[in-house]
Symmetry: C2
Subunit: 299 residues, 2 copies
């Protein structure tokens, strides 16, 4: 029997009706992220969006993302790393018993400082299915990027980078907004200059100011400076990684972002595989299948 | 005869009446930064604030800061580094001939990327006078911090760091604003933890996210997290410097900021000298004196 998967984020959500074989039968998007749902309003929003899909008796739903946070529908405590799909399945909690279940996020620690993800874990297990890879580095660009190390089908650990949020703040709210055209399309050459500059050691706090002075001295246009700033930030993110040239790298995300990371990685002679939204549905299907198994069950 | 010095910034200005010996006779502040002055409005604002000080025949005024930028009263083209006080004096331009003069900023270049300052150059030459130092590292914390290398009384070069603006953006406008109490006073222990974390190589884009998770897991209070984030940023700024433990370091700025930099530098066994607003007036006096000399003249 087909099931419903929902990726419920902070500012928007998307759902899919997926059959037993993992095929997506239908998909829906809505601007009803958890910040747009009033207290106690989750059941009504869910029914309005997915009531028809949930009508058949025995139809089940898996929800992932920020809906499982303290500000969400039901808080699903984080599953600690290392974790494989079966570990994650064991941490799924009921929203409506045997009907709607919440996937927890993952947590990791770096010298006493916690790190967290919610929603990306489903994409990672989906990407393993789609690529057949049980080992590799999985990179999920977004507002808060995740760099995830996978070995033997287990998520060993991960780190979050606020690159996307830094870009939005700097391009739209800082003094750089006067010289940067944040809406401009990618300029690959200016982007490469930004990546290259970030490797020269001045540090992001200094290099970012160049996106002001290069505009002030009319060395770059506002459109070029948007890509230059993006290159500075992504270059800085790559600079703090220990990358193994022989490891498989999988990028998961929107094409506008994965294109930039692929460009920056190519400069390091790394050619990543690239996946999009399909990773979420593949991961939800894998998890749903695990929950139908004998070891674990829909809570 | 005494003269008038004005430090005219983006959001505010301050002026001083200074006698021949460099003593400050009177001081004024106003919230009339260049962004608050309408087009063509500079003479009227200046007269309203300093008309009485300028009344005596032959009274002169030196203006520094953003009033000399393209958006200011009269654009004073940047003086290139290396530059000593005499070089700077030769680049001063007239606003009202032999009456009001504008001090230019300094410019430097790092592998083709320009860097600029406006106003800080006066503080640096003032700090040399006040400390008697002709060699050293002069650090001016603020929205856009300046690290300035001085040798033989000349400014060899400098770098700008957007540390202050990054802090304001992150603490007030990013997701971190939910866990950080931006108005909290300094917590020296949390600050030191932030400085220490920044030296461990995760990179600012990653480390900043810790100011979210440490709050989420209730490991630090919002007040502690404000100092932790400040420590992360200042630590990151220090990390990208090549510091010579034997060089003299002079901090110039508001006590709330210089205290933090002094703490972070002490961790590197560097004890800086600390100056405040007096550096501006000492620098204006030095420059005014140079302009009264035989080599250069008030333009």
């Amino acid at each position: 029997m087909s099931f419903v998967a929902v990726d419920w984020g902070t500012s928007s959500l998307r759902g899919a009706l997926i059959d037993d074989a993992g095929r997506v039968l239908d998909e829906r998007h809505a601007a009803r992220g958890i910040l747009g749902v009033p207290a106690g309003g989750f059941p009504a929003v869910f029914d309005a969006l997915f009531g028809d899909w949930m009508a058949p008796a025995g139809r089940r739903c898996l929800i992932s993302g920020m809906a499982g946070s303290r500000q969400g529908w039901v808080e699903a405590p984080y599953c600690p790393c290392p974790a494989d799909a079966a570990d994650l399945a064991r941490h799924v909690i009921p929203v409506v018993a045997d009907r709607i279940a919440m996937v927890p996020g993952l947590t990791d620690h770096h010298d006493g400082v916690p790190d967290v993800m919610r929603g990306e874990e489903v994409q990672i297990f989906g990407a393993m299915q789609l690529t057949g890879l049980a080992d590799g580095l999985f990179v999920l660009p977004g507002t808060h990027n995740k760099w995830v190390w996978v070995q033997g089908g287990r998520v060993l650990g991960f780190r979050t980078f606020m690159t996307g949020e830094f870009y939005a703040l700097l391009a739209q709210q800082s003094i750089l907004s006067r010289t940067v055209d944040a809406a401009a399309p990618l300029d690959a050459d200016a982007f490469a200059q930004g990546v290259s500059r970030s490797t020269q050691g001045g540090g992001l706090l200094h290099n970012a100011f160049g996106a002001r002075t290069l505009g002030l001295f009319e060395r770059m246009s506002p459109a070029q400076l948007a890509s230059y700033l993006s290159g500075l930030l992504i270059g800085e993110e790559l600079r703090s990684q220990t990358l193994d040239a022989h490891a498989d790298v999988v990028l998961i995300g929107a094409p506008a972002l994965t294109t930039r990371y692929a460009l920056a990685l190519e400069g390091l002679r790394i050619t990543p595989r690239v996946l999009g939204a399909e990773a979420t549905w593949a991961g939800a299907h894998a998890l749903h299948t695990a929950l139908q198994g004998t070891d674990t069950a829909y809570p």
